[in-house]
């Protein structure tokens, strides 16, 4: 065997390997993709079924006729818009407060060199490991004594003081910016507050966008806190309202699926509209590892 045929054999077996790999990857992708897509299909198709096609064997895959009116009924049954308004009443201020306060605090942890800073920062990092359950009971007692039960204050007021994770996220971003920026401003006699507001804040926009997005989605989905603090039906946010509706009308699957779809669509739109910020946010949570 000459050297030539040897290398061409090797090349051929490599090529074969590559083909096997591509076929295998594609098959696995399609199989997994199918499994991921099935629940979505089930969600949408059920939400459009007339009641008498929900429990039919064999299964009705495509509803006949397509009942768009389920969405109208779901919105009325569930008080969807009341819940939506409540969710926004919590999520919008919580998002604004968390973003502003976290960036403010993050500035103090990154752009000013003060004695004890790193020790305090370690405390901040370690609070992220604390399970919510540890502070849950005493916080409830405090808010109860303040008369804040069945109001949104227990959910919103704490966001005025910054979220540890978001402070961390914005700080990491601020640390990566050159220090000369503010040194020059300081020599010019700029106050620290102005350096923060006029120089640093505009530069941290990507980190702020990520923070705002993650906070908003977090409050859109939040279940445990409203479950603990909100008792009146009219004050429920969407997540809690949907769960309560589920409990009461467990067999109304078409309406339940329509409501679940309506609760999901805004987040999916948000995801497609802000995909870059979105993915970076998720990936950033991993970078600290």
């Amino acid at each position: 065997m000459t050297l030539n045929t040897l290398s061409s054999n090797r090349w051929r077996s490599k090529r074969r390997q590559e083909i096997v790999r591509v076929v295998l990857v594609t098959l696995l992708r399609v199989a997994l993709g199918f499994m991921v897509a099935v629940p979505f299909f089930w969600l949408v198709t059920t939400s459009l079924k007339p009641e008498n096609q929900l429990f039919r064997v064999p299964v009705v895959w495509i509803p006949q006729p397509i009942m768009w009116s389920n969405y109208v009924r779901a919105v009325q049954y569930i008080p969807f818009f009341t819940y939506l308004k409540n969710t926004l009443t919590i999520a919008v201020p919580a998002t604004v407060f968390t973003t502003v306060s976290s960036s403010f605090v993050a500035y103090g942890f990154s752009r000013i060199q003060w004695p004890g800073r790193d020790a305090v920062f370690m405390v901040l990092i370690s609070t992220m490991m604390l399970p919510y359950q540890v502070t849950m009971v005493p916080l409830f007692v405090v808010f109860k004594n303040l008369g804040w039960i069945d109001t949104y204050r227990p959910l919103v007021v704490p966001t005025l003081f910054g979220g540890a994770f978001y402070i961390f996220l914005i700080r990491q971003f601020l640390m990566s910016l050159p220090m000369d920026l503010q040194d020059a401003a300081r020599i010019d006699g700029c106050s620290e507050l102005r350096i923060y507001a006029q120089i640093m804040l505009p530069l941290t926009k990507p980190a702020l966008a990520t923070t705002a997005l993650l906070t908003f989605i977090g409050y859109w989905n939040e279940f445990l806190m409203p479950l603990i603090y909100i008792n009146t039906n009219d004050k429920f946010p969407l997540a809690l309202g949907l769960q309560q509706f589920q409990r009461q009308y467990g067999a109304e699957w078409a309406l339940l699926m329509a409501a679940s779809t309506l609760m999901t669509i805004p987040i999916i739109i948000l995801f497609f509209a802000t995909q870059k910020t979105f993915i970076r946010g998720i990936a950033l949570t991993g970078i600290k590892g």
Partner: protein, 300 residues
């Protein structure tokens, strides 16, 4: 001296909001919850000191506590590894360029943006024993599907399946980690005649170990606190059903803790449970960090 004092003042000025929040919303509640855990407290009467009795009762006399620990460990030991494995497989499958890849990335990620409550309600219906799509598909293949959330033996596997569907966030973190693998390593391995499997096992996975470690730690902490999905699904079984069913098979630690606090108003008992949870999380995290020297490779 004067300058550093000014810097301290400026630093504290900016950090101040968080410090106040930390004192009010973290440190003070921590101290109080440690105190409550040594008391009998029902919100109506003032807390009554009872020493270690809550802890003793939990560890020695409470069968539901044992159930809750068993269920939670099941999720940590079986659920979490499955979720991480699925996320890792997805990430490896998607670590290429191309239009199709973008499509599949979006598809695989999409379930994790579905709000947890909506996803839980959806999965109750997806896994409905008679009319759900999973059992329907199984039937068309000639299998009779299990009772899922109505069967104590299948409720946790059902939750694991649902979690595997929504593991896109972890997948994205794996993908970010995969992007760190230097191309040159693959090229030199190819010159040595390594196929894709050997490249995966000998290059990709070792470089990915810090990411695996990170996802493992974060996943473990959140799995110990597993709550919303099981709460929604088990309570959805009927309008007056307490959470944790069927037959206590989804009574997870956080659910039993919540019940003690807000259904039975045993605040001291719940606080003791919270501290035990915290200790377990701390110790497991420490053990994982200790073990990491043996299998996590930094700076390759």
């Amino acid at each position: 001296m004067r300058r550093s004092l000014r810097k301290l003042a400026m630093g504290l000025f900016f950090v101040g909001p968080w410090v106040i929040g930390f004192l009010g919303f973290t440190l003070y509640p921590m101290v109080m919850s440690a105190y409550y855990s040594l008391t009998n407290y029902n919100l109506v009467n003032p807390p009554k000191y009872i020493g270690w009795n809550n802890y003793i009762r939990l560890l020695q006399m409470d069968p539901q506590f044992k159930t809750a620990i068993g269920n939670t460990m099941y999720m940590v030991l079986f659920g979490l590894p499955i979720w991480l494995f699925v996320a890792l497989v997805m990430a490896v499958l998607l670590n290429e360029k191309g239009k199709l890849t973008t499509f599949f990335r979006t598809l695989f990620y999409l379930p994790s943006v579905v709000p947890t409550v909506a996803a839980s309600v959806l999965w109750m219906w997806v896994l409905n024993p008679q009319y759900g799509i999973v059992n329907t598909l199984l039937k068309s293949l000639g299998f009779s599907g299990p009772g899922w959330f109505t069967d104590p033996k299948w409720s946790k596997p059902g939750l694991i399946l649902m979690g595997a569907w929504a593991t896109g966030g972890t997948m994205i973190i794996f993908l970010a980690g995969l992007q760190n693998v230097p191309e040159a390593l693959y090229e030199s391995a190819e010159l040595d005649g390594a196929g894709w499997w050997r490249k995966l096992v000998h290059i990709t996975l070792p470089i990915l170990t810090p990411t695996i470690f990170f996802n493992l730690i974060m996943g473990m902490i959140s799995t110990f606190q597993y709550f919303t999905q099981a709460f929604v699904i088990s309570r959805g079984a009927g309008s007056n059903v307490p959470p944790g069913g069927p037959l206590g098979s989804t009574l997870f630690y956080a659910i039993y803790l919540y019940q003690n606090a807000f259904s039975y108003l045993r605040m001291g008992y719940a606080a003791a449970m919270a501290w035990l949870l915290f200790i377990v999380i701390l110790v497991s995290t420490l053990l994982l960090f200790r073990s990491s020297g043996k299998w996590v490779h930094y700076d390759t």
